[in-house]
Symmetry: C2
Subunit: 358 residues, 2 copies
């Protein structure tokens, strides 16, 4: 039969199409009522340990798996969450989803994925599907913290949590702590002996750029250092980093030059490093560079490997899941946006001046 494993089909404990073992089978084998079996398996009610053990043994032996549809129907919980995202590339979403799932699987809750570039109609369809599936909650994950999905999530009958996305007033949301991440990055540059630290970053319209620039300014001020010029807003691209580095160090350009550059993301950082290298500057010796994202495929491929800020998306997903569980259980959850910690990952693009790595 197509789709099946190769041999020993008949030896398998549960072949395709074979009747699934139900709680009834377990009860029968244990010689108790279905009621008792249910209670034994769920650790509810009071009964002799012997009875409970007898039921457990039967369930084990039969390979019993509770049917969560039946259970959900009566308990009014599906043990299921919906994850809505418009990140078709998966760069942000998959780490979040992995964290979310990993926190949920032990609690027996599974996650429906509704991914893809979303127009309003698709979103509506996804939302409808989630309603039919009776999800216990909805996680909305985005690509940037100042944009939401193309349609309002109308008042759902279930809790909604926004992750790495805009979040309507009064709702609960989690985003990486951009300011904190930026502070850690710049503090590291200072610690490593840099004094003239520039900031090259993405488009001005992104909330993330404003926050990262703010972190840069704040921490410098705390160290009584002046920011090196204005924050340079542009694009999230290597090319922008490359061009900006070239301009900054143009022989005919300004005499004053930075000795450290904090970049708004790893792509920009890579462009900066490439631009610097082409001009004969040494990273990290002459100039130290720090990125943001810890997008490993970039961060590890720069030469030298990039010191950068990890946004902790996996943990973000886990945290959001935890909050969702609380919400579902009716526990109080602080509305508003929570910023979860970022973590600096030190590689080789940052070092004290003149230091020469192997």
């Amino acid at each position: 039969m197509p789709g099946e494993g190769p041999e020993q089909s008949k030896a398998a404990p549960a072949g395709r199409g074979l009747a699934r073992v139900t709680i009834r089978d377990v009860a029968e084998m244990a010689g108790v009522s279905v009621t008792t079996a249910s209670r034994a398996l769920n650790d509810t009610g009071r009964m002799t340990e012997a009875t409970r053990e007898k039921v457990r043994a039967a369930a084990d032996q039969l390979g019993y798996r509770p049917n969560s549809m039946a259970r959900g129907l009566v308990s009014r919980r599906s043990f299921t969450l919906g994850l809505l995202t418009n990140d078709s590339y998966g760069r942000f979403t998959l780490p979040i989803a992995a964290g979310l799932s990993s926190g949920m699987v032990d609690r027996g809750v599974s996650v429906f994925l509704c991914a893809g570039e979303k127009d309003a109609e698709r979103t509506r369809l996804d939302l409808q599907a989630m309603e039919e599936k009776c999800v216990d909650g909805l996680i909305v994950a985005g690509k940037r913290i100042d944009r939401g999905l193309p349609i309002d999530i109308p008042h759902q009958r279930v809790p909604v949590i926004y992750v790495n996305s805009a979040c309507p007033p009064g709702a609960v949301g989690f985003v990486p702590d951009d300011i904190g991440g930026a502070r850690a990055a710049v503090a590291h540059l200072v610690a490593v002996g840099r004094q003239r630290i520039a900031h090259i970053t993405g488009p001005r319209q992104f909330a993330a750029t404003a926050l990262r620039a703010q972190g840069w300014r704040e921490i410098l001020e705390e160290h009584e250092l002046a920011p090196f010029g204005e924050a340079l807003f542009g694009e999230w691209s290597e090319d922008f980093g490359y061009r900006t580095a070239q301009t900054m160090f143009d022989p005919d350009g300004p005499a004053e030059r930075p000795d450290g550059i904090f970049c708004g993301n790893d792509q920009i950082a890579r462009g900066v490093i490439d631009g610097l290298t082409l001009l004969g500057l040494r990273v990290p010796d002459d100039i130290s560079v720090v990125g943001f994202d810890n997008w490993e495929i970039f961060a590890k491929a720069t030469r030298p490997p990039l010191t950068t800020v990890d946004m902790g998306l996996f943990d973000l997903g886990q945290t959001a899941g935890q909050a969702m569980l609380d919400l579902i259980d009716g526990k109080p959850v602080e509305p508003g946006i929570t910023r979860t910690p970022c973590r600096l990952v030190v590689r080789e693009s940052s070092a004290p001046p003149g230091h020469r790595p192997l």
Copy 2:
């Protein structure tokens, strides 16, 4: 209340906690029995169009959504699929998942995501969760076509389809057509006037490298062209591409040089282009370069933008979903591996010799 939209909570048709509208409500409003309501909504049975319409209208007005748990319980179909993947980064999985979902949502089936780096224990847990959720089928998605999950998927009671992953004998699997993709890439280089086409690719142990190398050899032979040397196996990294290009065009190296390079992936291609550029060679004029993956973040950031092979992962996901639906419906599906088409994306890294783009 936390997690809720801001205003007009009481005006909302379905506030949190409000009783969900059931088929019973619909039947009552339409003045028919539950049986008839069910049949009307499912387009089954025979009844006057008037009755059917009356029921539909009531359902619409009430905003009725069938409870898929109840439906699943009786129909023995959950309209739910499990997607198991060990691609924690999401580069391959999310496009596949998006394609899968997009094909499924119209059919009312949703997809559970079990993502993350998997050890045997995690996989077992995920599998167990999927069984409890009564998925109708399981899609196993991998990062490479010659590796599976850490444990055997035992004989499930549901169909299993493998995507971009190894696939046990007798099972059904879908993978990108590596040979075809390679042929398209190399045919394009030939069409553009290249005659000495080299191949730089990933580690020898990957099945994909062997297939892509085979496509390279085949199509050259068909054009009565000799491959330029042996395929150069190494790593899937920029660095490997960079170093290899440098060696290949070492002034003290071999006199014979390629005028086209087909790379095993986009990272290698990028390294090659960077290496070539640093040596003062012009891409595409002096040497044309083609990659594999169409990983846009790389392909668009190379200078010039990279001509490359798109693996069609979105379509792959859709195709696999379609096959799964057939399997579930008991329709016959050819066991074995199906190779789905790749598509060449022409950008600026390939052109006739001497051509100088703007």
